[in-house]
Amino acid sequence: MASIAQESALERVKVNPAASLLPKRWYAHLTLWIACFLIGFPLFYSILVSTQTNSDVFAYRFEPGTAFANNWNTVMVFGNLGNFMLNSVIVSVAVTVGKVVLSLLAGLAFVYFRFPGKWLVFGFVLVTLMMPTEILIIALFRFVNQLGWGNTYLALIVPFIASATGAFLFRQHFANIPAELSEAAQLDGATPIQFLIRVLIPISWNTIGALTVIQFVYAWNMYLWPALIIQGQASQVVQVGLRTLMGADQGISFGPLMLAAVVASLPPLVVFLLLQKQFMSGFALSRDK
């Protein structure tokens, strides 16, 4: 009885008279085309405008303009983009590497050691997941200025190199690795650090990749903190540096501004697309920290 009902249901699913003319599930393709267009258009149009002059923009010319070289010159000389990009690279790479290394060490301590007060440290790290940096930004601003770190890379890097997310990610990952591995390593007389470098890291590249994407994108896209703590252009990051091209009184020159915005978005996009697979397999965690 049940099997007959099942067969007839399957029959109904299979027979589809419209299937011969249109591609299968044409409505899904149509929806996705529209979605991809709407999501892609703002960036596509920005790229187009980055080759145009303002008069092209105001005339709604939907074709590449001739002002690319000119815009590039404005961006590099007047906009100081090279300097901002370099600062962003230094800060983001330092924050990302710092977070991955510190998280690996913390994960190692949490999984492969037993020590008094472990649950206390664990709680100490866990609670920070509920403390958004933005909430304490006023006090942090005062404290970092008192340290004399204003206008330095230190102010952009050091406060952000510990990661609760990363520590828990590696703790979870290491806890699923068979205990035989560490027992064998101990029999061979390996120290914990040797065990980490020779055994754990080679089998953790997916997790490291996922954490790298999240933290690099997070560090590269930081805005409020650098806007507060860095005065002047020398150590400023590109997200805030774009403001140089906003032109206070004589109106905005859109060509150079959009060119700079597109260039500023390339590094996180490249990292994201390169590590997309690792990101997909290990991303089930909060968006920052």
Partner: protein
Amino acid sequence: MQFLVIGMIAVVGAAYLARRFSQSGLKPAFGAVVGAVVGMIGSAALMIPLDWCTFDPDRTATDMGFGILLMAATAALALGATGWIAGNLAARRTVFSGGTQPGTFKGWLTPWILLAPTIGVLALFLYYPSLDTFRLSTLLALLGAPRTRFICVDNFTRLATDTVYLNSVATTILISIAIVVISLVLSLFIASMVYLPIKGASVYRTLLIWPYAISPAVAGVIFLLLFNPTGGIINYALNNLFGLRIPWLNDPAWAPWAVIIASVWKSLGYNILFYLAGLQNVPKDLIEAAAIDGANALQRFRQVVLPMLSPITFFLVITNMTYAFFETFGTIDYLTGGGPLNSTTTMMYNIFLVGIRNNDLGKAAAQSIVLFVLVIGFTVLQFRTAGQRVTYGA
């Protein structure tokens, strides 16, 4: 006055913990004693650092009311935590289970060395500023001024009559609810299309999720181009199609929607990604069983798929809410600068304006604490209301 409040809280605490203890199978009398003590300590926890200043004779009634509220809140927190711990202890469960595992290394010093950088950075740059935020919020502290003055809870009670601040609360609520609702509905719809067995699904996926890597600040720059009053392409299209011209950035009624649209665009990719992962975890046989029972596609979606997605929806509501509260800052700063007429000044943007532009660190710290309590409160509320309908696991 304060002793009267402490006494009342002690009585309530005694009654509450007596009940909790008897529910957990412990002696109610013991609970009453613990409750009275914890209630007294809890209510005094914030008042002792404040030196009971809200009860000084020259303070207003608002200050006193706020002081009583603070005492009740800290006492409730202490009592709730005590009840929870006692319940766990009574059930012979350890509150914090330290995972023990074979294959651990020897040595008690090594783990501390490994953890030292993490603990140090978190203590210095997260815990210390958090505590300092509380201290700052009771001070008249101006940026650059060498001296500060203790002004009790003035920074908090003055918020009640601060129209710019109250306006920023309303703006934050509008922007965050709109972002969460619009972004989640759209992303679930799009994700359920990508999830279908169609050709090129992985190409679609990549083309849909890349805005995750775009910064909120760049999203602001891009939509500044699209919404610009002169030469904005969106108004050009709307004008040609429908004869509409919308003052996106110049009208206080429209400006929040410019921020909302830019933020939804930026957050869609992230939400699609999570909904896609959620959909892949819905057991196929459950959907097939529903199909065999004669449920059509819409019924299958509403009655089988949607309940299975509720944990991920819950998670996304919280992360999108956090996004709307904090990370819209970059978008707002480039797109509208908080204007026109403060119509896009969110609570976070207001903290920046008050603390950095107007140099009033104490007032900004007080606003930070209110925002923090709001975020925590919202998370708890979500947990309680969504708790019954959320399905965890298969």
